[in-house]
Amino acid sequence: MTDHLKREIKEALIRDAKTGSMSRRQFLTYSMAAGMSVSAASGLWTSDVSAATPKQGGKFRIGVHDSNTSDTFDPGTYVSVGQIQLSHTHRSYLTEITPENGLGPDMATEWSATPDAATWTFKLAENATFHDGRKFTAKDAIASLNHHRGESSTSAVKSLLDSVVDIKADGEYTIVIELNQGFADLPWVMTDYHFVMLPAKDDGTIEWESGIGAGPYKIVSHEPGIGTELVKHDGWHREGAYFDEIQFITLNDPNARQTALITGEVDSITSVDLKTMALMQRNPDILVDNIPSGSAITLPMFTDQAPFDNVDVRLALKYAIDRDELVEKIMFGTATAGDDYHVSPGMPYAPTDIERRPYDPDKAAFHLKKAGLSSLDIELSAADSVLPGAVDMCVLYSEQAKKAGINIKPVREANDGYWSDVWLKKPFVFVKWGARPTPDQMFSIAYKDDAPWNESHWQNARFNELLLEAKAELDDTLRAEMYHEMCQLARDDGGTVIPFFANFVYARNKNIGHGEAVSSAWENDGARSAHRWWFAS
């Protein structure tokens, strides 16, 4: 049994025990079966399980940011935080990221792969139903995934399933996914917020317009950009969902969010304005969750375009950035400094022994000189819609780089149209990436030589070779070694400066309880606060 798997089982056990679906005795039996000693298992029970005691009932009101009047139910075009929060509440996925950031079951109960990792079998939950009472079967799962495949698909995650050749049913409750190459991380990919399970129509398409799903709560009323009311779905196949009702209220303005929470209009908000975080923490009725995540800020430069085609210029820019000051002043401490490889410390296979590159203007000037330049004038584009404070960060970086003789001119681009006109179009820009569960997924979409989102146009033969090898490798130790080398390559040769990984910072009233661990996948416990949290009093 691999360590990875062991950890998953342990987490699954703790989760089940916490939600009350397992007695202490059962817990100990299963833990020992998973290779734990009696004392270790018993210690785990007292420390992790009994501390949390969920209570049933109540109406949980969540103030959500980034929720728009133009948001729809089409899973292919999910993009806003509002849609992500709602989709995890009224809909469901094959697999889920657990509060401990492992991989757990949702609509699929177990999964396995052939040794080359090119054929995957998912067993589906047999007791799951949609909100209108229909049973969830293989047919629905296949239609749901096919929504993101094929010529006419308008899905934003079409490219994630590019290597899928066919999806077949094996009986009513099993699906088999065939790929044209090994893909060890496929079960992780299934947690992507676009891949919701929806009822299939007879023609093999899905019924997404109605807002029906198989998630823990069903929609009673929904007004895009204003709010959504939901009640508990009695046929939900899993444990949890302690609240009777859920209400999402759109609160796009940071001040509206914080005052709504302080005055008790809502019980939880999905994002805290970092400038006022410290002031908010002084309020005794409010608890702030500050959760490190894999969501990176990247500053990609076109490595096939002067002056960025010179690796010394890239190194100069990497030495000229004071990451600690950026974390301190832009994120008010709620971020982890990066080291120019896109694997956060919380991700599987994250290297631990690479020493972070320091801020060193002299070194930067040295590399600049080595590149044959006495000074450097470049523009850096950003917009505050990407991250509040993005433009400020570029201003600060510009001040830091001045000491090395580098003149960075920050350019504030329009919020509107940033992704279509600036990103991938201008040579040096500010980007924020949502967390991806594994290094493979991150590298494949944004660093692979032919990836459409290879934002730095980086071409490194060794890196791409390793990426393909690691993708199909099921041995954890070997994979870890490969990712280590790839991180080192990205750090020293790549065209992306990664200043930091941003935390999720959200807040709740103190009468809302949650487990000891919360997932770092999205705001509010991986967008699953509705079924994981409870009223403590």
Partner: protein, 314 residues
């Protein structure tokens, strides 16, 4: 004495306000005396009769103008120079403390005077030049000219200004030049309408009729007869529109379309730290106060000019 305790803060606030007012009055008085002494002949006479409010307004405007023109020499630090930690409190080096990036707030307010007031002044003047000219022509000429100009103004005004500028700035990019032109285009029709309405009232007066019969030309009518008789509301409007421009820029920065960083402008400075106000922190109040003070000052002077032009003696 216990019951007095609760009233102490209120008393302190009142005392501070009274102190500030007293200081303002004294300063205005001194400034007026100075002007009377310094200015030659006519100017001196005019200033002698000026109310204290007008002298206060003039004082503030001149102070802002000096700060704006000589910003690089007046400000202790550079516009974008990072010298402290975020929101560092005020000390003897930093008069107003630091902003969110640790830049000196006082220096940024001074540079803001240059950028914000400069842009607002140019844009408003341009708007008035276009709007008032068109309005006067429309009123004097009448007929189809009046119709065309009027409908054209209607079209521009009918599109809400924030949306209109959002569309235009997204299309043309956000340089200071584009910003000025767009603001001028948005405000010109408002000036046009007002000019048209006011001078429309004047045009039907008997003395205009008389001048027309005398065979006076269009420009003569506008310059000598209509403008002098309709300039009061226009001056009042200028004072207000000028200040609205700051707010439009602040609103645009709300939509991510403001002035380019690290240029300091008051509207964006309010916006950047606005949420702090909910916890009683005064950081965003400083640039807001800079805007308010100028608005009040400009309009005090406008009042005085209105009063003088109305010919009232009481």
């Amino acid at each position: 004495m216990e019951f007095l305790h609760g009233w102490m803060p209120a008393f302190m606030v009142l005392a501070t306000i009274a102190g500030v007012l007293l200081a303002a009055v004294a300063m205005s008085w001194l400034f007026r005396a100075l002007l009377v002494w310094v200015l030659p002949g006519e100017g001196s006479k005019v200033m002698r009769s000026a109310p204290l409010t007008a002298s206060f307004g003039l004082f503030v405007i001149i102070l802002y103008a000096l700060a704006g023109i000589f910003a690089p020499w007046v400000a202790p630090y550079g516009e974008s120079e990072v010298i402290a930690s975020s929101f560092a409190p005020a000390d003897d080096k930093m008069l107003l403390g630091a902003d969110q990036l640790g830049r000196d707030m006082f220096s940024r307010v001074i540079f803001g005077a240059r950028n914000t007031v400069g842009i607002a002044l140019i844009a408003t003047s341009l708007a008035f030049l276009m709007g008032a000219t068109a309005g006067l022509i429309a009123a004097t000429r009448g007929g189809w000219m009046d119709q065309i100009l009027g409908r054209f103004a209607d079209v521009i005004m009918s599109i809400p200004s924030l949306i209109f500028s959002l569309l235009l700035l997204s299309i043309f990019g956000t340089s200071a030049f584009v910003l000025i032109v767009i603001i001028a285009v948005i405000y010109a029709p408002r000036v046009f309408r007002l000019t048209r309405a006011v001078s429309g009232d004047v045009v039907v007066m008997d003395y205009i009729e008389a001048a027309r019969l005398r065979g006076e030309g269009l420009w003569y009518l506008i310059r000598k007869e209509i403008l002098p008789n309709s300039k009061a509301p226009l001056i009042a409007e200028f004072g207000l529109e000028f200040c609205f421009v700051f707010l439009l820029i602040a609103g645009l920065s709300f939509l991510g379309l403001g002035i380019q960083p690290p240029t300091a402008d008051w509207g964006s400075m309010v916006r950047d730290n606005a949420t702090l106000i909910s916890f009683g922190e005064i950081t965003p109040l400083i640039p807001a106060a800079a805007i308010s003070l100028l608005t009040v000052a400009v309009n005090f002077v406008v009042d005085w000019m209105l009063y003088r032009s109305s010919g009232l003696k009481d």
